[in-house]
Assembly symmetry: C2
Homo-oligomer: 305 residues x 2
């Protein structure tokens, strides 16, 4: 495995993608979570979503959270936006890095935003232009990249074609989202490989869910193709809406724990991150799925018998 990257960048998505899929929590707790994460060594935090409160009540206080965060200058804070209007709002609040999602599957995209994939891509093009006019960047996530819960498998060609369109329109970075945990390693190899062939230079992030236990195996497959940028959520915040009790987001501690032991630097202090995961459990009032939070890192010793 000598061709693995030396360093991996983690985008911490717990405060947004995580909390968006939990019961609503207090604004103060959200700000404390972001601020605690900003002391762990993570380089990027997806902090809020500027989405209409009727659509996502969990993010109704996005303005207050965004304004309340104590900025660590070493960290890039980003915000998700659902559309042009949300982008305007984010940029007006001084956000320099926005993200927008489009599903590769029409059915899933319609269920989410009542538009076809093509219609969303047209709006994303305008969002990218607006971000650039305002001196911000715009990253595009192609979701249901390894399968759609309604349609099933999504052809690799379709996913790559959606990604190509976003990049042609100026996206500053791409992410593939495994929305309901349908990716397995050979599928990751295929999609990442095809994407790299089509667009060798575009910054490429992977967003895996551990819904079916494969998230870290998928990370390994992506690492082996040189991918060095992953989303993960502290504690594994963000359940799986399709399966009560099942995991959603890959837990940040599990990602950091595995890749650091493989000799890949993340810049993250694992013990500090585990402490924040414990705090995240307290905030949402339920046990989170992170195995490393439960068992501790592999360096933990049991007292001699």
């Amino acid at each position: 495995m000598s061709d693995l990257p030396n360093r991996v960048s983690l985008r911490e998505v717990g405060p947004r993608d995580g909390l968006q899929n939990e019961e609503p929590v207090a604004t103060k707790a959200k700000i404390e979570l972001v601020d605690a994460l900003s002391q762990t060594g993570v380089g990027r935090i997806e902090a809020v979503s500027f989405v209409h409160p009727r659509a996502i009540p969990q993010m109704a206080d996005a303005d207050d959270v965004w304004a309340g965060i104590v900025r660590n200058p070493a960290i890039r804070y980003s915000a998700l936006v659902p559309n042009l209007r949300g982008a305007q709002r984010a940029l007006d609040r001084g956000c320099l890095e926005i993200e927008i999602v489009v599903s590769a599957s029409d059915t899933h995209n319609k269920a989410n935003v009542n538009r076809t994939t093509a219609e969303s891509l047209d709006e994303i093009s305008q969002v990218i232009d607006l971000a650039h006019e305002r001196g911000a960047t715009c990253h595009v996530t192609v979701s249901t990249a390894w399968g759609c819960p309604y349609e099933g498998d999504v052809p690799v060609e379709r996913v790559v074609s959606v990604a190509k369109r976003a990049v042609a329109d100026g996206a500053d970075g791409l992410s593939f989202g495994d929305t309901t945990g349908m990716a397995t390693p050979t599928r990751v190899t295929r999609l990442v490989g095809e994407t790299r062939m089509a667009m060798p230079d575009v910054p490429l992030n992977q967003h895996f869910h551990n819904t079916r236990g494969t998230a870290l195996a998928n990370v390994l497959a992506a690492l082996q193709l040189g991918v060095a940028d992953f989303d993960a959520s502290v504690g594994g915040l963000g359940g799986c809406p399709y399966a009560p009790g099942a995991s959603g987001n890959l837990a940040s501690e599990e990602l950091v724990h595995m890749v650091e032991d493989m000799g890949i630097d993340t810049g993250v202090d694992l013990d500090a991150l585990i402490n924040v995961a414990r705090e995240a459990e307290r905030i949402v009032g339920r046990e989170l799925p992170s195995q490393v939070l439960r068992a501790g890192p592999r360096t933990r010793r049991t007292p001699m018998p």
Copy 2:
């Protein structure tokens, strides 16, 4: 990933390794579990441990379970034995495939069987001879192969040297046990690679625990070196004694689900296996950690919105 094996063999260890680490269950339920597993397509089942009831009360009824199983002639049923006495007992009951474990770490081996690793290897040599005299096979598992909860890292050379001794003494197959989930993919690559260099032809099984979420990533690393034989436990039966709430054994459904989607044949009917996992939950009266049991396979569709 063109060099992956076409077929993987699963040794189902839920009835032994799984139930040994759960609260005791009724003999009838154990027999029903083995019999249900024998209808799923798995080729091998580790059914019982012939161990002293004072040491492991959960296996006190091993004789009755072993006698009560309805044999499927397509399946190899095996039994774990702790020592020469247990081997004698297993062979007297007609067992044709026995397994014995030795820890690569002295501290862990002493905690388990009050002997050094070297002392256990001497006895294992006698167990192998006895098995062969009686027309049976003996497989040896080297546990704490990727780390010991008391001592920490175990040098690869030490693990390989323990394995070599067992093979030199006639072991019919080797397994490496990740006893407390300390393996990560690069460690798997290193140990499997060194083992293959030293003993290219010995049958090699891997027994991963998902204690820190890495089990399927470790499977992928092993597959990439041609390993095609894995232990797994239905539903993920068998908690982690060191961390309440944490996972122990890799869940059989998670293994089958991932590798089958990667085009690797297991011979197992995943739906049937999930049904048995559900039954295993009923037997032990707690939620098991298998993600595929919770979420269903990736082929499961959500009704169109």
